[in-house]
């Protein structure tokens, strides 16, 4: 836990996977109390980071071929939902 990677450097999937592992570890009750508290701290940091990413992310679109046209307005109705 001590040499864990900084949360910011991890991908969403990696952070999520580590979080899963931490929860399993804590639930299995195999850790020392000190390690449990460390794991808990790490888990909370991971959750906070994941939530932050979701709420602050700006969608990035890389147009590799062709030319994207038309508006990208969230207000217009989804054509497939009508």
């Amino acid at each position: 836990m001590d040499n864990a990677r900084p949360v910011e450097e991890m991908t969403f999937r990696e952070a999520s996977a580590e979080l899963d592992g931490i929860i399993r570890q804590i639930e299995s009750n195999t850790l020392e109390l000190e390690d449990t508290l460390k794991a808990y701290e790490r888990g909370v940091a991971l959750i906070a980071s994941l939530q932050k990413r979701l709420s602050e992310a700006e969608q990035k679109v890389d147009v590799l071929m062709g030319e994207l046209s038309g508006q990208q307005d969230d207000q217009i109705r989804d054509t497939t939902l009508s």
């Binding site: 109390l33 909370v44 590799l64 071929m65 062709g66 969230d74 989804d78 054509t79």
Partner: protein, 457 residues
Amino acid sequence: MVSRGCPTTGVSPTVTQNNIYESGENSASTALSVSAAMALAKRSLESVTVRMLGEVSEVSIKAGYKAAYFTVKDSSASLPCMMWNNRYRACGVQLTVGQMVELEGRFTLYAAKGRMNFDVFSITLAGEGNLRLKVANIAKKLQAEGLTDPARKRPLPLYPEKIGLVTSPRSAAVHDVLRTLRRRFPVATIYLAGVPVEGAQAPVGIIDGMRCVVNAGSQVVLVVRGGGSFEDMMPFNDENLARAIAACPVPVVTGIGHEVDTAIADMVSDFRASTPTAAAEAVSPSRESLDVLFQSQADALATGVRRIIAAQKAFVERASDRPAFRDPAFLFASEAQALDTSIERLNRAMPAVLEKNAIFIATARQRLVASGPHITEKPQAELSRNAARLDDLSPIKTLARGYSVTRDENGKIISSINQTEIGQRVIVSLADGRLDCKVGGIDEIDLFGRNKEINHG
């Protein structure tokens, strides 16, 4: 082709004529009523199912009618048709004048008017049949190769951070996908390959686009387009595209059209979504589910830690309840007991020891007391003897016997005549006082006791 209990390869003249002959022979002598004759004809007509191709020339579809009425024709004939509403709705074709249609049904007679028409069982748009056959053959081939095997289908990544999107860049579909991903999982980067999705070149373009987004690092690829006719969808039935999808190194999700029809691309893809939006949803976790997930994970963490702390606390409490901690004396009870025993033994032993000592001391004291007088006897005798001697030697005694001591003025004893001279003042001490004298003369005494006057003042 569908068969409805009768040969479907067209009108069978032999059968029909046989029926007529049979009827004719049976009724050679008797004239039939019109109704009977019409019933005879109706039975004959309805005994065969016919498939025909024609152009729609008139259409009459009205709300109150039980059937759709229309006419089909070719260059030299026309035929009134009717199709019961339930069948018409089921066939999925919207009839319009000028359409080439393939009909399946039977001839029938409307006896009241003596009119013949065609009772239509099913309609398909002409040409589509060939296409469908072609598609079905490709599907069969790919199926035989195992490319549509459900076991080949790969699970989609849970949190794809790089999503490839291959579709027309000028379509509602592209925005449906982008909007859905933005709403649900804005963390992901979208690699868009804008390609034509209609026409003969579409399959090649789509394959190119897939390669492009995969090379960019996409973890999953969406191949989508909006709704259209069966013919519009033909690029997605392309065999090469199907093989490219099957060979794609990352999972492919198809979202093609609104129709219930399944394109071949759908059959070989790892996940088939019914629409572009559904395809985007398939590769993205929803915000709501993530929020719920994070909350439950936070709860699980807290609960787990609380449980562990409670368990540790219970352990400490149990431990502190053990005799060793509850009553520290317990720890050295045996030592304390040993000490007590020792004290008791000591207490028991002490008086005896003391008594012995006391007796010893008492005896010693007695002996000391007893021997006390004997110790002073000898010194006392000595002291008496010495005192007597001392008394004997006392100058006072000598003086008392008539001797005197002469001193000069300084108190110095004069023991020789040589120490004095005539006229010198001397002090003579007697036993009871002193005389202040002046030397009037000096006589030396020789060894024989004779005085010899030396000098006289």
